[in-house]
């Protein structure tokens, strides 16, 4: 059977891991946006999958839209420049600018340029795919790594047991940070809920100004679960409340995927190798943080 591109922005033949959650996030988001986009990809798993060193010689590029990679921290600033450049040249109409980065490239090193672009109100969509660590370099902790998670820079030993920076929340709260900028649209999404994700991306596409979408993208390679269970893991995150699906439109928050009876977060943690060391008190601490987040959102 021959594969044709049709209207797809992301096509087959990319170099992402088998069962990769991040490439699924991009598949849904970019195909929802269509081909009239210019993308900046920050240094990350996805940058390597799309235009890593192996891609150049034979041109095995998996997108049908133009893309640029500059460095790790630059996403917000580059799309700001593209926005200004296209506007100055009278070519701004009909092109959507998209900045893509991982959790590290967004919450840590990329925070400054994203904040600047959001504060200045440039016209772009920012997509953060969150696999909760620096996966491109082999699983080092980032600002969105969950408490007690084992990563290569937060390994488990007698003195230290995984990620220790907790400060009363599960992870650095990027949606809240973006909300503080007053941008018109913010959403969280998950690859296990592709209809919800696609709807949010299409809604973002219909709005002007800075739009931020944060997509939960479990990583089988880094978190330690069978690659066939990527979608299942993402679903479990939502069903236990560890990941909440909501959108903030002009400052008003709506939860888009209600969970009637939350499963205990233990069900989500114990099936991942990064949490295999976790003790009951540690699980209880995480459960408390999940409950706290739900209470903050006005849910049960």
């Amino acid at each position: 059977m021959k594969s044709t591109c049709g209207d797809k922005v992301l096509v087959s033949g990319h170099r992402a891991c088998p069962g990769c959650g991040a490439i699924l996030a991009l598949k849904h988001a970019l195909n929802a946006l269509g081909k009239n986009i210019i993308v900046h990809v920050a240094t990350s798993c996805m940058e390597v999958s799309i235009m890593g060193g192996g891609v150049f010689p034979k041109g095995e590029y998996p997108l049908t839209c133009p893309s640029l990679h500059t460095a790790f921290e630059t996403g917000g600033a580059v799309v700001s420049g593209m926005d200004a450049g296209l506007k100055a040249l009278g070519k701004r109409e009909g092109v959507t600018l998209v900045a893509i980065a991982g959790d590290g490239g967004t919450a840590d090193i990329g925070l400054q340029t994203l904040s600047g672009a959001a504060e200045r109100g440039h016209d772009f969509i920012y997509i953060c795919y969150d696999n909760e660590a620096y996966m491109n370099t082999g699983n080092q902790r980032s600002g969105t790594t969950m408490p007690f998670a084992s990563t290569t820079t937060t390994p488990v030993g007698q003195k230290k047991r995984g990620e220790q920076h907790i400060q009363g929340r599960l992870r650095k709260d990027m949606p809240a940070i973006m909300a503080a900028h007053g941008i018109p649209y913010i959403a969280t999404a998950s690859i296990a809920y592709p209809a919800d994700l696609t709807k949010k991306v299409k809604k973002a596409a219909s709005i002007h100004g800075p739009r931020y979408i944060h997509i939960h993208s479990p990583c089988a390679t880094g978190w330690g679960f069978p690659e066939s269970k990527t979608i299942e893991m993402a679903r479990l995150a939502v069903q236990t409340g560890a990941w909440v699906l909501f959108e903030i439109e002009n400052g008003e928050l709506t939860v888009t995927q209600k969970v009637a009876q939350r499963k205990p977060v233990k069900d989500y943690l114990l099936v991942q190798r990064r949490f295999k060391h976790i003790t009951d008190p540690e699980i209880a601490q995480i459960q408390e943080l999940v409950d706290k987040k739900w209470k903050e959102l006005g849910l049960q």
Binding site: P18, C20, E60, P62, S228
Partner: protein, 97 residues
Amino acid sequence: MSKPYWTKENFPITPNIRNPAGSLAFKCGQWRSVRPVLDEKKCTKCGICVLHCPDDAIAKNEKGEIEINYDYCKGCGICENECPVKALKMIIEVAEK
């Protein structure tokens, strides 16, 4: 549409890639050690496998039937895991004779 190796005449000034969808020439299906097999009798054509395939290796044809593109299937097994009627089964790859 695979680009030939470069010559002095056409070697570019940067490693920019001017080949949209050029990855279709890369048959990443070589990576797999297990492959999905579809039981057409069980399949309800719901399309969930199409939605969740990270490699776009499953699609519905013009008749709405599910077809697997083994050129690109990396054998991750998400389709088998997500199929609501267990119509897909991962089997060990065997060498072609």
